[in-house]
Amino acid sequence: MKQQPYRLPTGGRIERNRPISFVYDGRPYDGFIGDTLASALLANGVRLVGRSFKYHRPRGVMTAGSNEPNAIVQLETGAYAEPNTRATQVELYDGLTAASQNCWPSVGFDFGAWTSHFSDLFPAGFYYKTFMWPRSAWMRYEYFIRRMAGLGSSPRVPDPDRYEKMHTHCDVLVVGSGPAGLSAALAAGRAGARVILVDEQNEVGGSLLEETIAIGNDPAMSWANKVREELIALPETRVLLRSTAYGYYDHNLVMISQRVSDHLGLSERSTDIPRQILWKVRAKEVVLATGAHERPLIFPDNDRPGVMLASAARSYVNRYAVKPGSSAIFFTNNDSAYKAALDMHAAGMRVSGIIDVRSDISGSWAQSVRDAGIPIFENQVVVATHGKSGLKGVSVMKLNPSGDGVDGVTQRVHGDVLCMSGGWSPVVHLFSQSRGKLNFDVAKNCFVPGTPVQASITVGACNGSFLLSDCLREGFLAGTEAAKNAGFEAIVPDLPDVQEPELTEERAVWETPNRLPSGRGGKRFIDFQNDVTSRDVELAAREGYLSVEHLKRYTTLGMGTDQGKLSNVNGLAVFSRCTGHDIPALGVTTFRPPYTPVTFGVIGGRDVDHLFDPVRKTPMHEWHVSSGALFEDVGQWKRPHYYPQDGEDMAAAVKRECEAVGSTVGIADASTLGKLDLRGPDVKKLLNWVYTNAWNKLETDRCRYGLMLGENGMVFDDGVTTKLSDEHYLMSTTSGGAGHVHQWLEEWLQCEWLDMKVWVTNITTQYAVAQISGPRARDLLAELTSDIDVSPQAFPFMSMRCGTVAGISARVFRISFSGELSYEINVPANKGMALWRALMSCGQKYNITPYGTESMHVLRAEKGFIIVGEETDGTVTPMDLGMDWIVSKAKKNFLGKRSLSRSDIIKSDRKQLVGLLTDNPDYVLGVGAQIVSQINESPPMPMEGHVTSSYYGPRVGRSIAMALLSGGLKRQGETVTVWDRGNIVRAKVSSPVFYDRDGDRMNA
């Protein structure tokens, strides 16, 4: 065990019998269970923990919590690496490894420090002004800026940890387990309400963790632990520690990130326990007891390592038994620094004095300080800090009579820690996220919650109540009220006795007066994390910025993990001075979730890898796999893309597959095609409404193709519908379109045509479909059925027959998407594989060839069949597709009809579907290639259309393409110019039907 030079011999909440070791920036150190990484570093005398964002100034630990701007570290390495963690919130565990960020190439020697000497290079808006023009310069600088900006580095390998999600409801959710939160949870819990108490730290207590005042007859933490024990013993109450309520959403939904095993050493973590859990809590009532953050003061070089918040210094002494330095100086505008000074004095630290901007300081806090022999420098301010990489002392001066400048001589005060307090800002983040408006409390110099918008109550320091007794009282009242609102009978618990001195008034001072104007002398930081100084805010005001939202983006004030925690009110105060508008008039920037960073791991939870999205497989999937098919994702479906043989590439496989379909017979798995079962007396009426063509004369067992339009007249689905009986139809939709079409039909049936009697059932996955296609398809089918007459007269094109195929009861549809003689055989899903195997074995003599989606697309393109989503994109009407024939003139009404006569739809220069035949028959155009009316040296060029589908067509022996071309229907025979990925290609406009124009083959 090495010496920890700044560790106090007694006290604190660390477990001295559990020493542990850790590595920081490659060096070994020791600490205790109960430490944070920050407290352990301070105990070891490590004062330099990082370099600042823009100027790369040396920085030390400034806070003891989530508001830490400087001690941002990269935790662990490899798969466990986590960037941007705050050392003040990282619980120390044995073997922890961390490295400081933001200090390339090293924290000691810092290349970026030169920017400090050229700070005029980095004023507010620097990035915008310098790097937006010329663009190319940004590319050059970016590399260096990103390296210097030190955002840590994300792991390059998959996350080995497991994450979970929990959904739960409760009556009362209490956020924060300080005195206010504990008492609220207790009051609500005693009433029998289901209570969840959540706190980001490893123990309950909040501010009590460093409190020295007693509650009743107990030390503060004894009281807190008694309350915790009582809560845990209640059957309906849950206490979530190491859990950050980071987002407050609609209808009282609060998101909580629980760090279940982050505090354990990597070797102690078990795969049985998730690393983190994301809680989604829906609460009837929310009590916000989120506390307050102390504010820094703004003075020259207020970022020197050794400068920290007074409350943080107190926390290190009382909670972690760590001296943040050897001798402390305080600089304050309120009483809370006095508390800290007394505690540090009691712990045996030298306290050089309290510099207080107030004069005539009285009250019991000041009295106690004087009694302890600590000098108070009344009506004085710090005008400079001294020391190179760490603080050595400060210079102070008296304020002038009007308080806006300094007078007299400077006086030097020595010390290596400067504890500052500029007052307190309630942590209103969650309240603000819940859409509550904030009010500026002039007496307390802070924003406090206004009227809540959701069912919530704010209590304690979050409410601007900074006395312990007020926190307890408000907590009891709020917990009682919340329980009552949630329907429970509740009584307010008795308030324990608390003896605490009254607070004297704070003096509203933000940026302390100084000898020099803000542009000269040391930098005065407002936002330490983003290196925003008071001069930057002044510059923004001079340049005319008036909105705080613009100020934030222009200066980067309050960005990063800070999110306004440390900098918000101070920034506003300086902006207010510069613009002459008072703070309430300026308002605050929006507080957005998350309150502190949340890991992507916990947001993803188990919805990763193969659980990210369901995979749908057809009943014949395993056959495709064992036959060497390569698959294509179509929506969630896995479909065979093509079946390569003997080292074929895709082009060769597709050519072979298409030729087989054209010459003998091919077989494809069409199970994914959407299938909707429509029943009821009004199905025909519904079909007439949703399709453009007429359905009255369709006979039983006959099929008809239809186009479905939105009310805007644009095509959104197509498919074949078959009449099974007068009140029973089967509608097919595009693959993956069944859900959408089902939803569309239901919406109309439920919302508009309530009297129409139709029942729609999605039976897509109930049936397996084998599609056999090619001149020998009939011969193959005939061999496998004895009860279906397959002769062309008995079973014509566009009809359906029920019967037995390969001994399986089937519906056989004679429809064609390939342009060849074709049957789609539907059997119950669990018989799909049997059917497929029977067809394959019986088809052997015809050299039956399985084909995939690529060949399907080639075959249909040769035939000029559209695919919704390729030839259409939501802006294409049936007329644009040259499909006027399918739009009934006789029907008075159908969905989308009126839109087809709108002025824009009947324009003659609309993009219309054409075929394109390239002059070079071997050149296959790229899909998306632009048809241009004029060739320029480089884009842009005037565009008049684009290629929607393009293939080499084996059955027609040349390349073919479909395109949408302005006025295309009247441009047959014209030659157009296509700009295709840099190539200029000439092509002739043709009919989009390239193969078997008269349909003899599919009608055969």
Partner: protein, 93 residues
Amino acid sequence: MFQIDCPFCGPRWQVEFVCGGEAHIERPINPDMLSDDEWADYVFMRTNSKGMHYERWCHIHGCRQWFNAARDTVSDKIHATYRMGEKPPELSS
């Protein structure tokens, strides 16, 4: 993330629903009699109320029923849900 009270199933998370936009828009009986502007008003134009707004929701991952909801667009409080064909309740935000 809202909590929506399905008139058929009770309160459920918003992820189970889809929103179908403004409610109580009736399809014109005789579209042929409408001018382009009048038809476009039905197809494209929707009110964007600040305050009480009546809209359609479908419990798509539940009972698959459509229903109407009265939601205050400022607070996102849902004041009422009711079945298709029922008259909207009288509400003020």
